[in-house]
């Protein structure tokens, strides 16, 4: 079995308090699969503070463990929040603004 250099994770639907606990475990596990984790957010319809926290935690953990985390294909819901909370710099990803 070859070790993949990049691991992909797709998150869909509502990323909120109801999923936050599970999400945390899922994302952290995914993070440790490979040196680089990419999370695809195209299908995220809703993001609340709890969901955001998990993503922020993942980012910080990645940095601490010398891993990489990239958020991709931010859906409008995600863009909205990243912009409002000025988290572009925090996550360090290029945010493509979809029309």
């Amino acid at each position: 079995m070859s070790v993949q250099a990049i691991h992909n994770l797709t998150l869909d639907g509502e990323i909120n308090i109801y999923r936050a606990a599970d999400l945390k475990l899922e994302v952290l596990a995914a993070l440790r699969r490979a040196p680089v984790l990419e999370i695809d957010l195209a299908g995220v319809t809703e993001l609340d503070t709890a969901g955001l926290q998990v993503l922020m935690l993942a980012k910080r953990t990645a940095t601490e463990e010398q891993r990489e985390l990239h958020l991709l294909n931010h859906s409008p819901a995600v863009v909205d929040i990243v912009e409002m909370l000025n988290l572009g710099a925090f996550f360090g990803d290029a945010v493509l603004i979809h029309r």
């Binding site: 936050a20 609340d48 910080r60 000025n86």
Partner: protein, 730 residues
Amino acid sequence: MNLDDALQTFITESRELLEDMENALLNIDLAGDQSEAINAIFRAAHTIKGSAGLFSLDHIVAFTHVVESLLDAVRDGRLVLNDEMITLLLSCCDYLTGMTDGLAAGRYDADPDTAADGEMLLQQLRRHMGMESEAPDAHAGALAVQPEPDVERMGGDAGDSDYWHISLRFGAGVLQNGMDPIAFLRYLARLGRIAGMATVADALPPAADMDAELCYLGFEIAFDSNADREAILGVFEFVQDDCDIRLVAPRSKVSEYVELIRALPENPARLGEMLVLCGSVTAAELAAALAQQSQSETSATPDHSADIPPRLGSILVAAGQVAPVVVEAALNKQKQVVEQKAQENRSIRVDSDKLDKLIDLVGELIIAGARASVIGQRLHSTELQEATSTLSGLVEEVRDAALELRMVKIGATFNRFQRVVHDVARELGKDIGLAVDGEDAELDKTVVEKIGDPLMHLVRNAMDHGIEPADVRIAAGKPARGMIKLNAFHESGSIVIQVSDDGGGLRKEKILAKAIERGLVDADRKLTDAEIYNLIFEAGFSTAEKITNLSGRGVGMDVVKRNITALRGSVDVGSSEGQGTTVTVRLPLTLAIIDGFLVQVGDSVFVIPLDTIEECIEFAAEPGQDYSNLRGQVLPFIRLRSLFHIGGAPTRRESIVVLRFGKVRAGLVVDTLLGEFQTVIKPLSPIFSEVRCISGSTILGTGDVALILDVGALLQAVDGKGAALPALAA
């Protein structure tokens, strides 16, 4: 805790607090030291506000907030209390009482009918405080808001920032409580423009320790908006318990941002960065201010540091210290105040229904105990008699203790009159004061409840008709200020309440003339002064030249008398022309149980209240005469057999029970004396309401019914008939 119970408690406690407020306001000595009173009033208002906030009673919170602000200003010395303000605050008390009553009736928001009054009061309050704002304070819950900090002379230039700076630290549980901080930020954005934003994630713990359902985030926001402080705080109303909110107004001095930094938990350098990031301050300003601060400190400390002083926490900002949830602190404080009060009283609340039930049961206990005694006597069993004697003794003690529970001091009732006198005096344009004596006199709670209205009427009457206008008083050589005096004391088994005034007194001739005119007395009847004065209690009598708003409107002295008689009491009036009038109300101490003395006439057994009996003597009188010789004094007597038309012949050795009620002393001729007996008063059916001399009935140990004599009525009957007899030695 059941919400209804909690709300009930709130209503009861608020009423008490409002009463305290009113009393304190009325008793403030404008010339002397007011600080204690002001503090008490402030605490009361503050407690009501806080508790109302717990129930989200916004209308009460908003109103009380403004009142509290005014009181705060007085407390700090920024405002001086004057007469006008006291009257205004009294009106505010009334308005709050109205809202509390509304709450009791099920109204949980402002009553539109009285909203205008409330608005007017608020405007007056603001006027006193020098604020002309139109908008009512809507959001004044227990927020963790930092008040405008004291101005410090450093970084003294006004800041350039045109923005509000909002600092938010959400509490850990905010998510679990169903709130989403992001949603609040969105809402905030509707009030203006978020010009700068920094998300503070410093509290986010390592992954292993992070609980995904707790909140670790905070925000520093530069907010461009015309909204005022209240509006901004209002955005966070629903999360105020779960969030630390600090506001710095636009164009605040840099020093204030420094204070903010100090108040926040994070590393000051980071905070400084964030503030700059927000755009609330420029890097240069901040650096300068901080440097200045450290300079002033280094002179005091051996530790020099060019960087931001490490001991930021040591400089305390007045209210900003309470970090996590200031709400808790506010609540604790309120709890403290309430607990303090509770400790002062060391009493508990008892449902009055439960108390009544207890008294009933004690009554039945007495009857059952009496029955046991009778059986013991009948069986001639010494052992049983001893046991029942012990039982009776204990039952008597239980009875006394139970009755004690129903006794309340009349002081509370008297104190209500302070307000009445204050308001009525203003209405009449007279200067009238109230002196109160005997506040510790106790009486049965049901009597207290029912005596309030008649007393109120007597007081108003005295103020309206008794006290003359100031010029008349001065011309008569009296002080311009009229005095009403309330007095209470115990006398021979009754409680006596006197309402006196130092006014013009009653005019005998006028009263007599009016009575004759109304057909209440015959023109040729000779009446004593006392009888003339008491004519004012006859129905349809009113000699006031003008019927003023207060006491002339259909509620006359006859109604007062009727109410008092219904309580088995009596009322009397004495007067001295030019000097004043005194109305004396006499009431039984309790309506439930009395110590009695049994007497027998023919087959009938009667109970005489023990407190009215002076002694018992053998019957001795000349035939045809209705008085006896009691150690040299004349004692008129009543033959009960005759009075009650009881058939049969009297026993050979009759007895006289010497009775005293107030100032009247007379004897009662009976067949046999049967001894003491504690009795439970069973009220008589209204079918007997015309029987004047009987006040109630009781059940003896034998199961028979005995009637309780109304000694007052009996002796009044004597008085009326005793015109031909020589005067009594009192």
